[in-house]
């Protein structure tokens, strides 16, 4: 049997190749092929997580193929506890996303090819243990977004007026993310040329830096390049403005992947590269990150309250919630980091669920404009039920994954950044306001005559994605221990080289430092 990472990564590539060879009229077959290959990836991801040995820790299921030996580049795949969890998240979102894509009716063949390429790129980032391929897959994940939003997306309207077009959203997203990527690339190249080992191999670099770390001044210069570069996709305030409009203009299945997984690439890269390779640089810049991410939480939350387009509400809520993830990372404590990764998982599932639901509502009613909607629980009992659950999860109700992980983040961050944590907690209240308003405005109230003919998701196949996502959310909410253990097995060694003392030295207010 082929090693798991290869199966996970190349199943979608194979799917895309098969679909390229199929005639474009055979849409049913194209859909079945993509569901099948994503099923294979999902099975591989589950197996990778289930077989991850916590006691051994480190990188497992490794695959190494020499690539450009003279430059120290190798095709090196593998998972640690953190990436194993995120690979599963991506596999879940991609599998359900392929099912949700049944709503796509035009240019089906091209759509699935681009969608599968996007999925491959994201898997590649999580699985790569080589910085060259890490960057390659990262760029590969960004570019398919342009046609996916541009061709199959929708303009964002407000009260009949176009607020911005899908072309604008697609271009803004692509350029923002590419700019972020190249800033990070400068950082990566700088890192490469200043290390003595001359390799892009992540484990080799970590090993080399463990015995002889980069000079601290150098780390302090490289770290912000990586934090800002990958922060764009995270999306770190004030570089987030591409994200809500990108989500809003994208087709539902793409928004699911985008908000569910793509945004996590940023925080994942910060964990893996900044904390993993530049502990000193991380310690210096994390307090800045903590302050910015409070802006994420509060600003994103307040803007979400003001929106009337369902997708924009969820889009801004995503950028707000990613603030918690960044806060958990910024505190550099095991508890906070565990919480951040768990929240990436839980928030990914929740957002994917929310975008899938909004997509269903939009396809049926042809509106996402909150004042036009209402009373849909009468016609869409199943979707409404799921919607209420998504809102509960998003607001951090115990029992869903978000509660468990946000709690970990707050407890982990409390010691290091008390002020930022207190501010962040208020974000939960803001979330409750806009999510409950969204649910009330969409599903509750008197049934509207205009919507008498809308259809609920009735067939088992149509319900499957929602059920899968909710089940995973509840599982992680009620029994987080095994997953947290796997995350912790990798998070703790990462932090060993950054002592909290380092961080406090930078985080402390100036008068105390004197």
């Amino acid at each position: 049997m082929a090693p798991l990472p290869l199966v996970i990564l190349f199943a979608p590539v194979l799917g895309a190749l098969i679909i390229l060879c199929l005639p474009s009229e055979r849409t049913a077959l194209i859909r079945r092929v993509s569901v099948a290959v994503m099923g294979v990836s999902l099975a591989g991801a589950v197996a990778a997580l289930a077989t991850y040995e916590t006691a051994r820790g480190g990188y497992q299921h490794e695959v190494f193929i020499p690539w450009i030996a003279t430059l120290g580049i190798g095709f090196h795949l593998g998972v640690d506890g953190i990436s194993a969890v995120l690979v599963l998240l991506h596999a879940l979102c991609a599998f359900t996303g392929v099912l949700i894509s049944y709503a796509i009716k035009q240019r089906v063949k091209e759509y699935y090819v681009f969608y599968l390429l996007l999925i491959t790129g994201v898997f590649g980032v999580f699985l790569s243990l080589d910085l060259f391929f890490f960057y390659l897959f990262y760029e590969m994940a960004v570019i398919p977004m342009y046609p996916l939003i541009g061709i199959w997306g929708s303009d964002v309207k407000e009260g009949g007026l176009v607020r911005f077009t899908k072309e604008y959203a697609a271009m803004k997203l692509t350029i923002y993310l590419t700019l972020g990527a190249v800033v990070a690339l400068v950082g990566l190249l700088w890192l490469y040329v200043s290390s003595d080992v001359r390799t892009f191999d992540l484990p080799a670099l970590q090993q080399a830096f463990a015995s002889g770390p980069l000079a601290p001044p150098l780390q302090r210069w490289i770290a912000p390049l990586l934090i800002i570069g990958f922060g764009v996709i995270a999306p770190l305030w004030p570089l987030h403005s591409w994200s809500p409009i990108g989500h809003a203009a994208a087709p539902s299945a793409v928004s699911m992947l985008h908000a569910g997984v793509l945004m996590k690439l940023g925080s994942f890269a910060i964990i893996r590269l900044v904390i993993g390779l530049l502990p000193e640089g991380a310690a210096m810049w994390m307090p800045w990150l903590a302050t910015l991410c409070v802006m994420n939480i509060l600003y994103g939350g307040f803007v979400a309250m003001a929106q009337k387009d369902l997708k924009l509400i969820i889009g801004y809520s995503s950028s707000s919630h990613m603030g918690y993830v960044l806060l958990g990372i910024a505190c550099l404590t095991p508890l906070g980091l565990d919480g951040a990764v768990l929240l990436m998982f839980a928030h990914g599932l929740m957002t994917a669920l929310a975008f899938a639901l909004v997509g269903h509502v939009y396809d049926e009613t042809h509106s996402r404009y909150l004042p036009d909607l209402g009373g849909l629980a009468h016609q869409l009992p199943f979707i409404a039920t799921c919607g209420v659950m998504a809102a509960m999860a998003s607001s951090g109700l115990p029992g869903f994954g978000n509660f468990a992980s946000e709690l970990l983040v707050f407890v982990g961050a409390w010691d290091v950044y008390p002020i930022q944590t207190v501010c962040g907690v208020f974000g939960v209240v803001i979330t409750a306001v806009y999510m409950l308003r969204l649910v009330r405005g969409t599903f509750f109230g008197a049934a509207k005559p205009a919507f008498t003919h809308v259809h609920d998701a009735v067939s088992p196949l149509a319900r499957l994605p929602y059920v899968v996502l909710i089940a995973a959310l509840l599982w992680i909410g009620c029994w987080p221990k095994p997953v947290v253990q796997i995350i912790d097995a990798s998070a703790r060694p990462l932090l060993e080289r950054t002592s909290p003392g380092d961080l406090r030295q930078y985080a402390r207010p100036p008068e105390e430092a004197r």
């Binding site: 690539w67 450009i68 390659l136 570019i143 342009y146 072309e167 190249v182 190249l189 040329v193």
Partner: protein
């Protein structure tokens, strides 16, 4: 005397005469199939090259002519370019029907110039090769005699080209004054003897670089580019943007890395500064263009910037990166120009608006253009990505991080205007829905280029080894 080393050049020389004879003897009605004869010439040239490849490194004619692996590698690329351009002319025959044989003859003289440039070991050979190439291109650019824009293109190219040749000759004269010889070994010897190089020789080197900067379209010698690109026949533009630029880079490699490495403190900052300005100018000026050929003209200035960046490293890694970049650029840019030639014939103009809705009129051409443009922009896993990354890596290695930052930002800028073309093709609505038919040979050629883009982008190691062996 070893004429064997000149095999490829001799074959091409013979073919110049063959094409001229064909022009006189083949009846007008049979002229459209002349491309087959031209293609055959390149093919035989390639066979000659393969035969030469088995021989070792050698020099000929009092060390004026080098046949090392470096020369062989770039001669291969030149022959490939010529072959693709000949295939491209098939789509352009309607405009070239008069004196088609003479057109191919000029193509072969230009090719001869490029082949000579790959083998230079003497400043005079540099001048001969360059003039051979440029003179052919002057005429080819103005080949559409009834089209005012084409004549303007040829004239503009001629005037600016002559001025730059003046720079080159003056530079050669100054260097001759310094070393007492124009041969590279003599120059090397003179450089190693004099620890202090006189100002006149330094000025001579910079003047030679200025003359070559014209060929690669580096700022500030780029003023001819947009107008010539817009007016000249499209296959000639393809030759200009790939073959001629590559020839200029090869000559710079020979001169700077073969001879003037001891003077690198002089030319590295110059090239680095020019690289930064060239990249920014080309990519920013491409944004507002409304004509696809002008856009590609500015984009080619941007690429000249990347090449100069690789050249400004002064290291073997930089040479390898430039070699790889040229390979990637050849496949990507030729694929894009092939689509432009084919599509513009059907659209009837080079205006960008005509490309609206191309994905519906011809999914194949649109997809090929998409892949080609993304490769030019440097999107993985395509050829352009590997080329850009290697150049950036070599530049970072040479310690010029500021240049790396500018180069990296330019990736995002160039992506913007390339995507604007993609946007028209995929999101725009066409004026007519009439599908564009693509001939099977054209389809095959474009598919070959696309395959190349993918292979060069994914499997870098074998190509890199070839290049490393060539530049050693």
């Amino acid at each position: 005397m070893s004429f064997g080393l000149l095999t490829v050049e001799l074959i091409i020389c013979a073919w110049i005469i063959v094409m001229l004879a064909a022009e006189l003897m083949v009846p007008r009605t049979r002229a459209p199939s002349l491309w087959q004869l031209a293609f055959l010439g390149v093919l035989i040239g390639a066979i000659g090259l393969a035969w030469l490849g088995s021989a070792g490194q050698a020099q000929a004619f009092q060390e004026m002519f080098l046949a090392d692996r470096f020369a062989l590698y770039f001669k291969g690329l030149f022959l490939l370019t010529a072959a693709v351009v000949i295939l491209m002319t098939r789509e352009f025959l309607r405009h070239l029907s008069v004196n088609l044989g003479a057109f191919y003859m000029l193509l072969f003289t230009a090719l001869l110039g490029m082949l000579v440039l790959a083998s230079i070991n003497d400043l005079l050979m540099l001048f001969i090769g360059l003039e051979l190439l440029t003179f052919s291109l002057y005429i080819m650019a103005a080949y559409l005699k009834t089209d005012a824009r084409s004549v303007e293109a040829g004239l503009k190219y001629l005037i600016l080209g002559s001025v730059s040749s003046g720079f080159l000759v003056y530079g050669i004269a100054l260097l001759y004054g310094f070393a007492g010889s124009t041969s590279f070994p003599a120059l090397r010897a003179a450089l190693s003897e004099n620890s202090l190089v006189p100002l006149s020789a330094q000025a001579g080197l910079l003047l030679v670089l200025a003359g070559l900067g014209f060929k690669v379209a580096a700022v500030p010698f780029n003023f001819w580019v947009p107008d010539v690109y817009e007016g000249a026949p499209t296959p000639v533009v393809a030759l200009l943007s790939v073959g001629s630029k590559m020839a200029g880079v090869v000559a710079i490699l020979r001169v700077l890395y073969g001879v003037f490495l001891p003077l690198q403190e002089l030319w590295i900052p110059v090239l680095a500064g020019l690289a930064a300005v060239t990249m920014l100018y080309g990519n920013l000026a491409a944004i507002p263009q409304t004509n696809i050929k002008r856009l590609l003209g500015y984009s080619s200035i941007g690429h000249a910037g990347y090449l100069l960046m690789g050249l400004s490293t002064g290291s073997a890694a930089g040479m390898e990166a430039v070699g790889y970049y040229l390979l990637a650029y050849l496949f990507s840019n030729l694929a894009v120009f092939f689509v432009v030639v084919t599509a513009s014939e059907a659209i009837g103009s080079d205006a960008l608006e005509g490309y609206a809705g191309l994905s519906k009129r011809s999914p194949f051409l649109a997809a090929a253009m998409f892949v080609g443009l993304l490769s030019l922009a440097g999107v993985p896993p395509l050829a352009g990505f590997a080329g850009k990354l290697l150049v950036l890596l070599a530049t970072a290695d040479s310690g010029q991080l500021w240049l790396v930052a500018i180069g990296a930002v330019n990736v995002a800028i160039s992506l913007y205007y390339y995507l604007m073309v993609v946007k028209r093709m995929y999101l725009g609505t066409a004026a007519t829905a009439a599908p564009i038919g693509v001939g099977s040979l054209t389809k095959l050629s474009i598919s070959f280029l696309l395959l190349g883009i993918l292979v060069i982008g994914v499997v870098q190691e074998p190509f890199l080894q070839q290049i490393a062996a060539a530049v050693r």
